[in-house]
């Protein structure tokens, strides 16, 4: 099952050129980029592992793409995503975030039901 989250989740995966253009867009707005990876793409798992520190003071997308490729090489079977953080006052949030690598074979989720007191049913997603 194809995991979708973040910006451009409705699009096919971006190519490296398209990723570069998006990075250039972020850098032009002064949003520092960072790379994160995980093997657990559960929607509730929003804290992925950081690949190095966020990259401040970068002006050119080539530097960010370099780190993305390093991360891809080190974790070929993980999900890798790019974050662009807008630190401006009043926003101070992730401005853009998208997946730049997914494993060749993605695992899917299934719905788990649990019966609780008074015939209430709790639902949760479980990775298969």
């Amino acid at each position: 099952m194809r995991v979708t989250q973040g910006s451009f989740s409705f699009l096919p995966d971006l190519t490296d050129e398209e990723i570069s253009l998006q990075i250039a867009y972020a850098l032009d707005r002064g949003w520092p980029c960072s790379v994160e990876y995980t093997d657990d793409p559960h929607p509730r798992n929003f804290l992925w592992d950081m690949w190095g520190l966020p990259m401040f003071d970068l002006k050119d997308p080539a530097g960010v793409l370099l780190e993305i490729n390093e991360c891809r090489r080190a974790h070929p079977d993980s999900y890798v995503r790019l974050n662009a953080y807008d630190a401006s006052y009043g926003r101070q949030t992730t401005a853009m975030q998208f997946i730049v690598q997914r494993p060749a074979e993605e695992r899917s989720f299934r719905l788990v039901r649990q019966e609780a007191a008074d015939r209430r049913i709790s639902y949760t997603l479980e990775q298969r």
Binding site: G52, M55, D57, L58, K59, D60, P61, A62, G63, V64, L66, E67
Partner: protein, 312 residues
């Protein structure tokens, strides 16, 4: 000064094999002459440097044309090494180089990252690689200027400089289209550096030697600096300024243009002191004009003509 980037080759129409291109029109479109003439006007002397820059500019122009004919070639190796005495303009040219290469469309960003040994070499095992990579990453798309590059190498087993050099070499080889590295340093020290790092020497295509300025050039530099700061020499101060430069250049620790700058700084100091001490009413001309006594009070003249009664 901003020149903007020429159009990317991809945006221009491709040329048919039998097309003929007007080179002078191309030069105009790429604004090569405009950029080079600005450089000529702003930098005095430095003939070998300017010649090499002209050659590089032509190469980039021709490469663009070749690309439009569909002739592919590897991105040119533009890594440079600037050697020369102190104050011969190595740093100044490096700063201009980023602007120039951006104007000629070789690098994507008009930015220069300056690094020295401290920025590249770490303190303990495993510290150097991330540090060097961080600097290189920041410089991507522009120019990385490593001042006093010979300091990277130290003759010691426990030094991590060599590790930084190796990472640097790898980047210089693999990211030619993303990064231009400029090394700078004094000539003899750089020669020693290349002797122990032959790989570095061969990966730098352009070894440019900065000659010392002659007296006439120093004088024009001095005039340019004065004009930039809104000062002028009084007519009778001109020979004094010339004498000053002639004397100073024979003394030890003469640092070419940097010494000229310092001389002017001190003359400004004396000029201000003279005005506050001697006059109550000053006009615009007084504030602008440096007089002979502003230079004559210098230590340089003192050694030449010891005043009576002062021990030498």
């Amino acid at each position: 000064m901003e020149f903007g980037t020429p159009k990317a080759v991809e945006d221009l129409p491709p040329l048919t094999p039998d097309a003929v291109v007007d080179l002078s029109q191309e030069r105009k479109d790429a604004r090569t002459d405009e950029i080079l003439n600005a450089l000529d006007d702003d930098l005095i002397g430095l003939v070998p440097v300017k010649t090499r820059i002209r050659e590089i500019a032509s190469l980039l122009l021709v490469d663009r044309l070749r690309a439009r004919f569909g002739l592919t070639s590897a991105p040119p190796n533009l890594h440079m090494c600037f050697t020369g005495s102190p104050g011969t303009g190595k740093t100044t040219v490096a700063v201009r180089m980023a602007e120039l290469l951006h104007g000629l469309g070789h690098i994507r960003k008009n930015h220069l990252v300056t690094a020295s040994r401290d920025d590249l070499v770490g303190q303990h095992v495993g510290h150097t690689a991330p540090k060097t990579r961080d600097v290189l990453r920041r410089a991507m798309g522009g120019v990385l200027f490593i001042d006093e590059a010979y300091a990277l190498h130290r003759d010691s087993d426990r030094d991590y400089g060599q590790e930084a050099i190796e990472i640097l070499l790898q980047f210089m080889e693999n990211h030619r289209e993303d990064l231009v590295v400029i090394l700078a340093g004094y000539r003899d020290r750089m020669d020693e550096f290349f002797a122990v790092n032959p790989g570095m020497s061969s990966r730098v295509a352009h070894h440019i030697d900065f000659p010392d300025f002659d007296l006439a050039e120093l004088e024009s530099i001095g005039r340019l600096m004065l004009a930039e700061n809104g000062y002028a020499l009084a007519t009778d101060a001109e020979p004094v300024f010339r004498d000053y430069l002639a004397l100073r250049s024979t003394q030890p620790r003469f640092a070419n243009a940097r010494s000229v700058r310092n001389a002017i700084e001190r003359a400004r100091l004396r000029h201000a002191n003279r005005l506050t001490a001697t006059t109550d009413r000053v006009g615009r001309a007084d504030l602008m004009t440096l007089r002979p006594e502003d230079f004559l009070a210098s230590r340089v003249f003192a050694t030449e003509r010891p005043e009576p009664g002062t021990p030498t």
